[in-house]
């Protein structure tokens, strides 16, 4: 076999602060409120879910595609239909404007074991592009050197 391979992306996540990742995640409702296209994509979606960094997930209430409540977990006896939780390192990499290969998609992260998808995932699958867009919103805020 002969092999050619250029430089390209590193397989290592970018430097990050876990607190900065949590703060970036907390900005998602405001970012969504300014994104009419993404909100419209979720116009048929009503769901209570658990999303965010694995070290500090959030209970999120979505109605007609809008986040109407976001509260740090745990909340006593609060239920959720599905959960998507990723390591802070994974989110920091995912939020780069040009994420490294293998860290660039929600399901790439689950495949590599950096995120978990649990529960009754029907609303996640019916609105998969919405959730990909929702959880990518912090790319716009410049976390970890993103532009």
């Amino acid at each position: 076999m002969t092999t050619e391979r250029g430089g390209g992306s590193s397989d290592a996540p970018i430097p990050h602060s876990p607190d900065a990742v949590i703060a970036a995640f907390e900005a998602i409702p405001a970012l969504l409120a300014r994104d009419a296209t993404l909100t419209a994509r979720g116009r048929w979606l009503d769901v209570d879910c658990l999303l965010g960094p694995s070290t500090q997930p959030f209970h999120i209430t979505i109605r007609a595609g809008q986040i109407v409540d976001m509260t740090r977990a745990p909340v006593l006896m609060r239920s959720w239909r599905f959960a998507y939780r990723a390591t802070p390192a994974a989110l920091a990499a995912y939020w780069q404007s040009r994420p490294p290969a293998g860290w660039h998609d929600l399901l790439a992260l689950t495949k590599r074991g950096e995120a978990t998808l649990e529960g009754e995932i029907h609303p996640f699958m019916t609105h998969l592009q919405y959730f990909k867009g929702l959880l990518a919103l912090p790319r716009r805020t410049g976390l970890g050197g993103a532009s």
Binding site: M1, G7, P99, A101, T110
Partner: protein, 286 residues
């Protein structure tokens, strides 16, 4: 920008007997020279190859042909199969490609396939190498780990087009042209119900080629494998592992590309495929 430009691609239908039944196969072509048959990815159709089909340099030396597999694009299911579950197998896929090439009277064509097309190229190399001038597998490996449950692709309470496109959207490299990304996903939004899932039966269940590729003889038919760095379905590591077991196979990892190189970023793909197509030409002169 003015309207009225007509692309040099032309499309026709050819009647192809596959496994005892006539299939009306739609194909597009352009160029003259070495026949180059292009195979689309699972759940999409031959429009993915439209940029290659109009490449002025390539079409000076190649008769580039891209066809819609039965059930895909403008190739309908065979008459007897409406209402039945579609399942692509190694045998049926191989038979379809060979029958199509035979129906067009192609003399030892080059075959280039992507994704499932890349996997079947390996099977052509294993079983029918003498029939082909060269084989090119894009996003090809003998096997790769599944990363989602394909039952989500065809159920009445989930929009098939939306979920198919959303799933594969992550396989496109992040900074390619937006229009090309959207066009690539549009193909997935237009697929027939259960067709993507049926293609993946070959990919996930029936087409595991581990343990079989070691017998490929590249002296009979050169084999090129090229995979995008952002493809987390068929990863570069999957392709390099496969190539490592095939003496003489050439493997390349393509930067800034994902699972759909020819459609998601045609200019970037051209940088990688041009030397391969030139190498095939050079080998004809030896």
């Amino acid at each position: 920008m003015t309207g009225g430009f007509i692309e040099p691609i032309f499309g026709r239908y050819v009647h192809v007997e596959i496994e005892g039944e006539i299939n009306r196969i739609y194909f597009e072509e352009n160029g003259t020279g070495i026949p180059l048959v292009c195979l689309h990815t699972a759940g999409s159709d031959a429009r993915q190859w439209r940029h290659l089909l109009v490449d002025e340099e390539f079409t000076r030396n190649y008769r580039i042909i891209a066809f819609d597999m039965p059930w895909h694009g403008k190739s309908n299911p065979p008459d007897s199969r409406y209402g039945s579950e579609y399942r692509l197998t190694t045998a049926s896929y191989t038979a379809t490609i060979r029958a199509f090439c035979k129906a067009l009277g192609l003399d030892r064509p080059v075959v280039m396939g992507c994704s499932i097309g890349g996997r079947i190229v390996l099977n052509l190399a294993i079983e029918h190498a003498r029939d082909f001038r060269a084989l090119i597998g894009l996003e090809a490996a003998d096997f790769q780990q599944p990363w989602y449950d394909t039952t989500w692709l065809n159920r009445p309470d989930v929009h098939g087009g939306e979920v198919c496109a959303a799933l594969v959207s992550g396989l496109i490299a992040p900074d390619g042209p937006e229009a090309a990304r959207n066009e690539t996903l549009w193909g997935y939004k237009q697929g027939g119900p259960g067709v993507f899932k049926g293609d993946l039966y070959f990919y996930r269940v029936d087409g595991d080629l581990r343990g079989r590729t070691g017998g490929i003889d590249v002296n009979q038919c050169p084999l090129y494998l090229l995979t995008g760095e952002y493809d987390f379905s068929c990863t570069p590591e999957d392709t390099l592992r496969t190539a490592a077991g095939i003496p003489g196979a050439k493997a390349t990892v393509m930067e800034r590309l994902g699972h759909f190189p020819m459609s998601e970023n045609p200019d970037q793909f051209r940088r990688y495929i041009a030397p391969v197509l030139q190498d095939v030409i050079d080998k004809q002169k030896l």
